[in-house]
Symmetry: C2
Subunit: 220 residues, 2 copies
């Protein structure tokens, strides 16, 4: 009887592909940001604002992950940066293999920072590595301050949390102290930014933090 090989865990298989992606990124000195959140928390706005400020300093490429369509990729393309749209065709996250398939669409020798905007989902994306240097999540104030306690993995896996839409604080029930406390209980090293893409409040700290991370990576 022929030997049957069982791939024990789809996550193990994904980890191997993510590591291969990582080797490619290391060879080309590309810092990779995996940006995750619920639908509509403001990922694309953060990508737009980040590109506007950092594109003088770094060559930026973007991978947009969506179930279907290319609306976000069209927003990003207007900023003059190369962008590849992944359509997951129903899948609720991007994974290592999708990123590998997307790479031929970018000139990696001309990329310092690669931003991968994940599918809007506060659960599944946190489980799948893509070969990133850093996972960053966005939580928007209208979602409520109970989210860390209810969706813990995303908060545990992320190195930084951007709390977006602070301009809406007067109109929504969002307990900032509770959200931060609960997130830090899950992940005591989590770096937290309070921002509004509408008013620009707090964004400078995020840009500086990301720049420092990129510099530290490039100087290795």
């Amino acid at each position: 009887m022929p030997k049957i090989t069982v791939v024990k865990n789809i996550l193990d298989a994904n980890d191997r592909i993510a590591e291969e992606n990582r080797k490619i990124f290391d060879k080309e000195k590309i810092y990779v940001l995996n940006l995750m959140s619920s639908p509509g928390a403001g990922k694309t706005s953060i990508v737009e604002r980040t590109i506007a400020v950092l594109q003088g300093k770094y060559k930026i490429g973007v991978i947009e992950g969506d179930i279907q369509g290319s609306a976000d990729a069209e927003r990003i393309a207007k900023l003059g940066v190369p962008v590849v749209q992944i359509n997951t065709g129903g899948a609720c996250h991007i994974d290592g293999n999708m990123i590998r398939e997307a790479l031929p669409g970018l000139d990696l020798t001309q990329t310092d920072l690669l931003i991968a905007e994940n599918v809007g989902n506060l659960v599944c994306p946190a489980e799948f590595k893509i070969g990133e240097n850093v996972k960053v999540m966005v939580l928007s104030t209208p979602e409520g301050s109970d989210k860390p306690a209810k969706y813990p993995l995303m908060f545990q896996q992320s190195e930084a949390m951007i709390i977006n839409k602070i301009d809406l604080l007067p109109y929504v029930d969002f307990d900032m102290a509770k959200a931060k406390k609960d997130a830090l209980t899950l992940n005591r090293n989590l770096k937290i930014f309070e921002v509004s893409c509408k008013t620009s409040a707090g964004l400078k700290d995020w840009f500086n933090w990301l720049s420092e991370r990129i510099e530290s990576f490039r100087s290795k």
Copy 2:
């Protein structure tokens, strides 16, 4: 060599369990609502408001689906209705089997309306039947009007969409006409309610629609 049975599709297996649940619900004349949305769109608030208005008319039971914790179940229990908390332990949706496991926690002979609040996720819950009579989704205005085009399955699978947080319309970029048009393009029979759980605007239409559905089911 023994025959190997391959369950082709996890969704096929789930469908079978959902049908078994449905038989139980039909036998007990229980109308089952599967309520779905992104995290923080306001599902629990809608459940609370619905219970407050309909509990004089129907015996209501609730199943709360969360990855972990029981915060929402505690909110519902305060209203004096039986509630079972499902902790999915990481899974991004509730499915037929989880509902089956939850049923012994409810007195089905004393239930007219069973509300199952799904895990907050605009993608995966739409794929899994639980034995419901109706799937209803919530879209909140801060999520943005681009959601139907980006997360089509949820809009296609739902019979009704509750657009919640219309009190925030002056403060967010939400194109109501576009959201409705795009949703109706995906699902031309979709019933749409514009509501605010904060101000109570529009909720009466939702209560009436749900009551009519329950009455129609009970008169069969």
